[in-house]
Subunit: 350 residues, 2 copies
Amino acid sequence: MGRVRIVDVARRAGVSSATVSRVLANKPYVRPELRQRVLAAAQELGYRPSRVARTLRTQRARIIGLLISDIENPFFTSLVRAVEDVAYAHDYAVFLCNTDENPEKEQLYLDLMVAERVTGVLISPTREQGVDCQGLQQAQIPLVAVDRRLRDRRVDTVVVDNVGGARRLVEHLLDDGYREIGAILPPPTITSGRERYQGLWEALHHRGLEPRSAWIRTGPPVQAEGYRLAREILGRHPRPQALFVGNNLLTMGALRAIRDLGLSIPGDVALVAFDDMDWMALVNPGLTVMAQPTYELGRAAAELLLRRLEDPDRPVEEVLLTPELRIRQSCAPHLGAGRPRGEVRASGQG
Amino acid sequence: MGRVRIVDVARRAGVSSATVSRVLANKPYVRPELRQRVLAAAQELGYRPSRVARTLRTQRARIIGLLISDIENPFFTSLVRAVEDVAYAHDYAVFLCNTDENPEKEQLYLDLMVAERVTGVLISPTREQGVDCQGLQQAQIPLVAVDRRLRDRRVDTVVVDNVGGARRLVEHLLDDGYREIGAILPPPTITSGRERYQGLWEALHHRGLEPRSAWIRTGPPVQAEGYRLAREILGRHPRPQALFVGNNLLTMGALRAIRDLGLSIPGDVALVAFDDMDWMALVNPGLTVMAQPTYELGRAAAELLLRRLEDPDRPVEEVLLTPELRIRQSCAPHLGAGRPRGEVRASGQG
DNA sequence: ACTGGAGCTGAAATCGATTTCAGTCGATTT
DNA sequence: AAATCGACTGAAATCGATTTCAGCTCCAGT
């Protein structure tokens, strides 16, 4: 029961509530004997301090704000679960906000975080810059960016190696003989989008190829956009032999488009994608993907925040996690070497 | 900013904080003129009352506890999102707890709800009975069951028509000519599992058939169990021509098993399942499913709770939502009518 | 022996709201 | 003219913790 108040413990231990508070907060200046008595009394009564009263007095709630785009996206679901696990273990509550990729909603919630005086904030920002963190700074509320970076390099950050991951994925396409490669990516205003494009570029360039802009499209990471862009790219003549999709929702949209266009994978078009989800092993063919360690991402971010809270002056840290290539069947060795590859760029139209 | 306190508003309006409180709570006994002044002052200062202080004084936090089995299950994700939307709109926060289908964890969290003095609790119980709600009752914290029922009929409940849905789904199999039907279901200790079995039974019985117990297995609604049970059923001789799977995670497991066994759908075995998920339309063949209105489920539950809070004496209500049959390709007309159907039961071995 | 300081303790202030209670004012009743 | 009542208002108590501040004891240093 939560009925027991601090004065009840104090009475039972024969001390004042001040002493009880000191003992429970592990503060010095309490005789060991009293400390024992208080601890015993608290134990016996099953005392649990009221967070509400504590928060009112200290002006700081044990709450971690978590701003993500959408909890219905399994990528974030797993991340959220990790944050909650860590938070609960340290007696923090989590205040979850869905920004829906909408900067205004994001700002609204950020202001709310200040008003609610949360202890710290984890954010997967809708864009790299323009996010107003003045309020947080003034209120001395630490911020950790997760999954996507912020322009401001003074914030702790946890991200995956998007450049390397994308590069590896595209290299896998190249190794299988594909040269005419299209891509659907999140926009460059989101760091993960830009970095994945960078990885694509590096992979191609390393083999003396150039990205074909007519086959490369970017858009908000939502399913509808993936569908639209895939239809656009695959409706062109000529169309690419392979597609690199840079986000799980875009992938789902692209798959729908490919189905509706009556194309087969990997025969008509090969596919590699960023992010793995349970079902991607079950579709036919299974998708070759770069799996992100989503749970780890959330865990690392939450732990980074807690460390920052413990020591506000520690140097800014950036954690870089490595994604994992999972090879399935959506990309098989391609036999088309008869055609002169040197013309790929020359025949470009965009 | 949240810097403005009630006394600031009071000072600005030239009244006491008591009057401000009365105005903002819409209580009587305030001169209309003062009311206006207070409202104006509050508006100008952008006053937002501190929930912390309010909670301490009223001994009631504006928090809705939400106990589900696992936020990583998309079924619940959507439900959670609905609850949060409704809650936020009414200035409630949501306290989310993952029970992981573990009754002990569930009980722990229920006790925590009491300790935290939440306003109300939404629960998708791990089992029908044995859930100890004494604490909640004593603390007068209302409870709403969602997705699954509780034995105690005095609690408000929001569920889908599991019997009807399962029956409709199995009838669809029967209409396509299948007679030898296996099933993988959640256990009868969970009401949805029992009800879906009931639906199966009704559908069969209505056509003069009996369920074949050798082909019917139940287990905790997790993927691994779906895999295990599907292998078990499909490894038998003879094996059923069709499978009815009663839960999304079980379905995912079953699909893996079918793949690993090298069976094709619907050629070797047809499949219908409860619950729809985005990817079920994308696998090949697309799955014929009974889609549950998950968002609606959450919304209805949250709203029911709010209504109960407004009027604690209103009669207990049960909301029954209707699932929707989505026909895809995992179950096609079956041609095997040459075989005498009357022997189906006679040839049973379990 | 006196001073200073460290160790320890509890009374009381504090956080920001709600709510009780006592009281004022003006109109109506007796 | 006094009593009564209803409408209205604000001072102060209250929720349960933390923290300040003042005071006490005891011991070391001069």
